[in-house]
Symmetry: C2
Subunit: 295 residues, 2 copies
């Protein structure tokens, strides 16, 4: 059996089983970020790693500074999804021998700009030869103790929200040029408004089932409510992936506060409700999602 | 000009110039690890990222659990070189479609075993499709405030030491099967015996000049003193690379304490002295080292 037959989730479950139990972590693998035991009484260390690979997450004809921005912003989006503040990054890069150095430099400029936009620095990196261009980015940051918003803490009856619009990120190039929802995620965490949260990297069709499974719940969504990007149908909105918007749940008692106090221009849409029933209701839209190992 | 014409050091200098100045770091890129602003009054967060790539750092006919061990131990070796304690790791892996999943699982078991040996946990990871197998490993740990041993703090007159024996790591497979010198590095740091320290990843012939340059000094070594691995000549000991031994400097006033109190079975050899002269004396051995971008 080739690894290609395992889904990403299956693969992650399989290799996590091989690792020592993370006794020194508040939160191990399986959420958007991990959390290291409290550094002091008031804050916790938040950790995330991610990678982008040529011909999987970008092509070499893409604008190099957007490739760099994507490598950084994917990690920042995971910090947003915890309500955490990224502080510094480490970057490993695999560089093909034939690639012009100016191209990789432009990628780095894109990374620098994306990081600086959120007052994030670079702590170090590693360069190596490789057959294709890839970037592996690790982020270290912080969150006030107990304020990180996990995937596993939604309650039955909580309303499901998404930011922005969904679908078409490959054709629109939004997948290279998105804005990580850091202020939105931090605001939701600091105001204790999100009961569960994650970022939409693999598409609502894959990520909402993940959030529901983590919370031991099901969901019911309204197809009519899904904020599809103009030009996309509902199926594309659900299954295209790489939206990098926030998916989060809110207790009904906080609905008024959320909608009245939301201080951002970012679109905010209620799309459904978490339920404790026996199955999820996708309102006749097929939920497929996106799997990096199935390509 | 292809990137292949730039050395690794040139490349790192070039791309570091593109990044925002790391205002929130105690120590940025350029040493074995980076250090994040104190988490509390007594400790600092230590950060390192590294990557290994098929056909650069290992071949697919190598034992998979040793490939995994190497990916982890390279990072732990950098913590050793700061005198720091690694706490947790994040691993990104690029998996070729045709590779049997049992192979990658064995790599993970090797990583798990290597990490557990030093009470290090896994905080998360990312899997992606790629053309060749690679692992990018980031480590997060801690060091008592002010106790990290840098490369840049050697003084003229300090004696130069190395642990273990040098050379032949490719043919002996030591490059896959080495022991990171964590207890030795931490002991040297905790007892304030090393004035400067780094790990020998690219060979004494490249790494000692780096330590000297960082400390704004030169060095004089005795060829006769270099502890070559049996079967290796002095040139191989200096230039083969991937020894993953510690290179450190010691003030002459602490020489007696070091040699009298060294509590390890690990071989300890004085090989030379740091000097403030105009050039280094390599005792007629050519210093070449190893460059991952020049291969």
């Amino acid at each position: 059996m080739a690894t290609g037959r395992l889904t990403e989730d299956q693969w992650i479950r399989r290799w996590l089983a091989r690792w020592p139990k993370p006794h020194n972590l508040v939160l191990g693998a399986g959420d958007d970020c991990a959390i290291l035991a409290p550094a002091n009484a008031n804050s916790q260390v938040v950790l995330k790693t991610d990678a982008i690979v040529q011909d999987v997450h970008f092509v070499i004809s893409d604008t190099p500074h957007l490739i760099g921005a994507k490598a950084v912003n994917r990690v920042l989006s995971d910090f947003a999804a915890m309500g955490a503040a990224p502080q510094t990054l480490m970057v490993s890069v695999g560089i093909p021998k034939k690639l012009h150095p100016a191209f990789v430099e432009k990628c780095y400029r894109g990374m620098a700009k994306a990081a600086a936009k959120h007052q994030v620095t670079l702590a170090g990196g590693e360069t190596t030869r490789s057959k294709e261009l890839w970037f592996s980015v690790s982020g270290i940051g912080k969150v006030a103790k107990g304020r990180a918003v996990l995937r596993s803490t939604a309650k039955a009856g909580d309303l499901i929200f998404v930011t922005g619009t969904l679908g078409g990120s490959l054709t629109s190039k939004k997948h290279l040029n998105f804005t990580p929802r850091l202020p939105e995620g931090q605001w939701l965490a600091n105001n204790k408004l999100a009961t569960a949260m994650m970022d939409l990297s693999d598409g609502l069709g894959k990520d909402l089932p993940r959030l529901a499974t983590a919370s031991k719940l099901h969901f019911a969504i309204s197809a009519a409510q899904i904020p599809a990007t103009p030009g996309c149908d509902k199926s594309q909105a659900v299954n295209d992936g790489e939206d990098f918007e926030l998916l989060f749940t809110v207790s009904p008692k906080n609905l008024k506060t959320l909608t009245a106090k939301w201080p951002f221009k970012t679109k905010l849409t209620p799309i459904g409700i978490m339920v404790s029933g026996k199955q999820s209701d996708t309102d006749n839209i097929e939920f497929l999602g996106f799997d990096h190992l199935q390509r």
